[in-house]
Symmetry: C2
Subunit: 326 residues, 2 copies
C-alpha cells in the first residue's frame, strides 16, 4: 500500500506539501505540483478518491439551483439538500433562477467554472440542452423528467387526495385553481383532482393561474368568487394561493369551512399558523431535498445507480379549513 | 499594453488555452500552465484583475453562513446577498450553522479550502478566533461587532418604537418577551423597549425566552398568560414568537387588539397573512443582505473602505393587532 509519505519521499518534498497539493488547500508552485503529480503517477498512488481528485481536479462542491428561496416552499427543500450534503462533506454553491432561462444558464455555467461535481436543479426545463450537455451528474428536484435522475412527490395522487377529501366532506360545487402550465408538478396535481371530480360526476369550475406569488393570488381569489360566488369548495394550486382564497372568503363574510372548504398544497410552515389553520396536501419538502442530495452523491461516487427516480408520498393534513367527518 | 494574444504567442499556446488557464474554466496540463505563467511573468501581463487571479488563485466565490434558512427571517436576507453577488458575478457557497460552534468552524474552514475570497456570516460569535484568523474580508450580517465590517438594523430604535407605539395605543400592563441572551440584536431591541417603558413609568413584566422557534414559543406564550393574565400589551421578541402569543390569546378567548395588543419584530412574510394581521417592527432584511454583499465586494476589490458599519433603519408597520389612533 503506497502512502502519502512514499509520495513525498519520491517527489522530494514534505508530506505537508503533498497534502496541500492533493487537497488543494494552499498555494503550491507549478513546478512542485508537477513533481508531486509525477510521483503519484510513478508510484500508482491510486485508486483512491483523494489521489483521483488530483487529476480530475475534483472538488467537493455541488451546484443547487432553485427558483426562489423567498418562496416559502423552498427553504425546507434547500435545508434538506444542505443537510444531506453537509453530512457527506459536500458543500453547496447556491443560486436562484427566478425561472428565468438566461439566469439558469449563467448559473449552470458558473457552477461548471467553479468545478462542481454535480448539480441539483428545480427547473422547468429538465430536457433543455443546458443539462444534456453537462458531463457531470444532475438530479432534478421537484420536477419530473422522462428518464433523468429525479426526486419528486406524487403530484397526481396529491390532486386526487384533495378532490376525494373535499367530496367526502360534502362540497358539491367545487372550484379548482389550476397552477402555472409550465410547472409540471402543478399540472400533475391539477389532473389528479379533475380525474376524481369527473369520476364522481361532481360539478366543478376551473380558474387559471400563472404563478404562485401571493400578490397575484389575491386577484385570482377575487376572480374566483366573482365568477363562482356559490362555490362551496376550493382546491388551490398551493398553500400561498389557498391563503389568498381564505382571506377573500373571509372578506366576503363567508364562513370557512361551513360555507366553503379550502384545501391547499405543500404544507408550508405558514399553513398551520393561519386562522383557521389550513387543511392541505403535504409534500415532504425536507425529505425530498435530502433524498436528492443522497441520490446525487451516489451518482457522483458510483457513476450509475439502479433507482434513479425517487417518488415520495404525499398525505392529507386535516386542519380547520375542511369539515370534520366521522 | 500587453494583451492575451502576446501571452499566447510568447507561451507558444493558443489564446483559448491562455484564457482557460487564466479563468480556470477547464483542464490545463501542468506543463502548459507553467508556460503560460512564465509568459505572463516575462511580459509583465499585469496589473490586471484577471492575471492577478492566476497567481493568487482567486476565485469569485464567497461563503455565506446563516443560522437556519428555514427560519422565515433568513430567506429574504439570503436573497438580498445573492442578488447583490449575482449582479457582480460572484457566487455563493452556502451553509447553515444552527448556531452550533463546531458546524460554524467546519463551514468557515471548508469555505477557505474552496478558495472563497470573502465571507458573510450571521454569527453570535463575531469576536471569535475563527474570524480573527481569516486573511480574507468578512462582513457580519444582522450581528453587530465592535469594529469589524457589519450590516445590521437599529435594534435599540426598534425596541423603543415598539414600546412607544404600544403606550400610544393605550396599553398599561405590558409584557416584554426577552429574546435569547446570546443574540445581540435581540438584546438591543429588548433594551430599547425597557428604556421607553421605564422612562414612561409604565408597569411591565418580562418573560425570558431562549430561541426563536415556533414550537418553543408556544410554551412561552402559555407561561406569559399564566403568569400575567391581565396583560394588555405584548412586545414579542420576533414575529414567530408574536404569532404564538396571538394564538394563545385567541385560545383564551381574548380579543386582539381590544383586550390585548401584540407587536412583533422582523416583518416576515407570514405576518401580513395572519388573522388579525400582525403589527410589527420591520427590519429591511432583503436590503440588509444586499448591503452586506456590496460592502464585502468593496472590501474584496478595494482592500479597505471608509464606511464599514452600515446600520439600516427600522419602522413600525401598523396592522390589526394594535388599536388605531387618530
Amino acid at each position: 500500500m503506497v502512502t502519502i509519505k512514499d509520495v513525498a519521499r519520491h517527489a522530494g518534498v514534505s508530506v505537508a506539501t503533498v497534502s496541500r497539493c492533493i487537497n488543494e488547500t494552499g498555494y503550491v508552485h507549478a513546478d512542485t505540483r508537477k513533481k508531486v503529480e509525477d510521483a503519484v503517477r510513478a508510484l500508482n498512488y491510486a485508486p483512491n478518491e483523494v489521489a483521483r481528485s488530483l487529476y480530475k481536479r475534483k472538488s467537493r462542491l455541488i451546484g443547487l439551483l432553485l427558483p426562489d428561496i423567498t418562496n416559502p416552499y423552498f427553504p425546507q427543500l434547500a435545508r434538506g439538500v444542505e443537510d444531506g450534503m453537509q453530512a457527506n462533506e459536500f458543500r453547496i454553491i447556491f443560486g436562484n433562477s427566478d425561472e428565468n432561462e438566461q439566469k439558469e444558464q449563467e448559473y449552470i455555467q458558473t457552477f461548471i467554472q467553479n468545478n462542481v461535481v454535480g448539480v441539483i436543479s428545480s427547473t422547468n426545463r429538465p430536457d433543455s440542452d443546458i443539462y444534456a450537455k453537462l458531463n457531470i451528474p444532475v438530479v432534478f428536484l421537484d420536477r419530473t423528467s422522462s428518464d433523468s435522475p429525479s426526486v419528486y412527490s406524487d403530484g397526481r395522487k396529491g390532486g386526487r387526495l384533495a378532490a376525494q377529501e373535499m367530496i367526502a366532506r360534502g362540497s358539491k360545487r367545487i372550484t379548482v385553481l389550476r397552477g402555472p402550465v409550465h410547472i409540471r408538478p402543478a399540472q400533475d396535481r391539477f389532473q389528479g383532482a379533475v380525474e376524481v371530480l369527473e369520476e364522481a360526476g361532481i360539478d366543478y369550475n376551473i380558474i387559471q393561474t400563472s404563478s404562485f406569488s401571493f400578490a397575484e393570488a389575491e386577484s385570482w381569489a377575487k376572480e374566483l368568487f366573482a365568477k363562482h360566488l356559490d362555490t362551496d369548495g376550493v382546491i388551490a394550486s398551493n398553500d400561498i394561493v389557498a391563503t389568498a382564497v381564505l382571506h377573500e372568503a373571509q372578506r366576503l363574510g363567508k364562513r370557512v369551512p361551513e360555507d366553503v372548504q379550502v384545501i391547499g398544497f405543500d404544507d408550508i410552515p405558514l399553513s398551520s399558523l393561519l386562522s383557521p389553520s389550513l387543511s392541505t396536501i403535504r409534500q415532504p419538502a425536507y425529505d425530498m431535498g435530502k433524498e436528492a442530495a443522497l441520490l446525487l452523491i451516489r451518482l457522483i461516487e458510483q457513476g450509475n445507480v439502479d433507482n434513479r427516480n425517487i417518488q415520495l408520498p404525499v398525505s392529507f393534513v386535516e386542519r380547520d379549513t375542511t369539515r370534520k367527518v366521522d
